[in-house]
Amino acid sequence: MHLNHPLPDPAADHSLPCGADLDELQAFGAPPPAHERCPHCLDAVDALHTLENLVRGALEQDERAQTSALWLTDRIMRTVRTELRPGPLLPMGEPDEDLWITHAAATRALRRAVDTLPGITAGSCRVTAVTADGERRPRGGRLPRGPVRIRLEIAISLGQVVAEVAAAARVVVADTAADCGMDVREIDIAVIDLIVTAPAGTREDKRSDGH
C-alpha cells in the first residue's frame, strides 16, 4: 500500500483538544473569544505564562552573570595596572613613621571621592612634594616625608558656578587626603572641560572641545 499523503506530524499540530490554536494563545496571552472558560485554554495560558516567566528569569540571570563577569574583569585589570605602575610613594602619617601609599592608589582614591560630587567628573590627578623653598622636587621613587601639593583636573556640568564647584572639590580632596594620612599644603583644582548633557531622548553626554 502506498501513501500518497504523509502522516500528520503531531509536533506540528498546535491545536488544543477544544480546537483553539496554541500559537494564537501564545500571541494574545489569553483564550480566544468563546473560549474564556475553556479548561484546556485556561490550562494552556497558565502553562505559557509559567514558561515565559522561566525564560525571562533565565535571560535576566544570564545578563547579570555577564555584567558580573565584566565588572570582575575590570576590577582585576585595574588592580593589575595599579600594581604594576604604582608611581612614586607618598608619605603617610607623621614624619617619623615609615608609612607610604603609592601615587596610583592615592590619586585613584581622590578621583573616586570627587566623582561622587554631582556634576563633576575627575580627571588627571598629581601629587608632588612641597619643599621649604616652594619648589617641587622631581617625581620618582619616594617623595620626601613632608607636605604635598595636589593638583586635580575636573570637568563640570554646564550651568554650575566654577568657584562653588572648585570649592566643593577642594573640600572633598582635603578630606580624602587627610584620610590617607597625607599632609596637604596646597590643593589646585583646574576646571579643564565642560560636560554638555545631551537633550532628552539621546543617550550620550558629550563634552565640549573647549577648555
Binding site: 608609612l99 607610604w100 601609599i101 603609592t102 584620610d179
Partner: protein, 110 residues
C-alpha cells in the same frame, strides 16, 4: 630570611580589618603569584638591613577603609608578631636585632 617569621607576619597582617590582600612586590608578582599559584608570604619581606632587621609590608586596602588608621594597625600587628617571635626564640634574638624597622606601603585601595 626566616620563612616562619614571614609566614606569621603575613597571616597576622592579612587578618587586620580592611586589608583586602597582601600585595607582592611587582618584581615578585609573576614568580610568587603566577608560577607558584598562591600569594602566601607575598607582600611581606624580612631581611637584614645596615641598621638591623627590616620588615617590609605591602597591602591593598578595602574601599572606604580608614587608610591611615588601617596602616598603623598593620604596623602595630607586625610589632606584636615580632615581639612574640623574638620572645620565644632566644637564639634568633641573639643574632638579629629585636627592634626591627617596619615599613608599610599601601599599593591599592580597591
Amino acid at each position: 630570611m626566616d620563612t616562619e617569621l614571614t609566614a606569621r607576619l603575613a597571616g597576622a597582617v592579612a587578618a587586620v580589618p580592611d586589608i583586602a590582600y597582601l600585595s607582592p612586590h611587582p618584581r615578585a608578582l609573576f614568580s610568587t603569584v603566577l608560577a607558584r599559584g598562591d600569594t602566601r608570604g607575598g607582600g611581606v619581606s624580612v631581611h637584614d638591613g645596615p641598621a638591623g632587621m627590616v620588615v617590609e609590608v605591602r597591602v591593598a586596602l578595602r574601599r572606604n577603609a580608614p587608610a591611615l588608621a588601617t596602616v598603623r594597625a598593620v604596623r602595630s600587628t607586625a610589632e606584636e608578631v615580632l615581639a612574640g617571635y623574638f620572645g620565644a626564640d632566644k637564639s634568633y634574638k641573639d643574632t638579629h636585632s629585636p627592634r626591627a624597622h617596619i615599613t608599610v606601603t599601601v599599593t591599592a585601595i580597591i
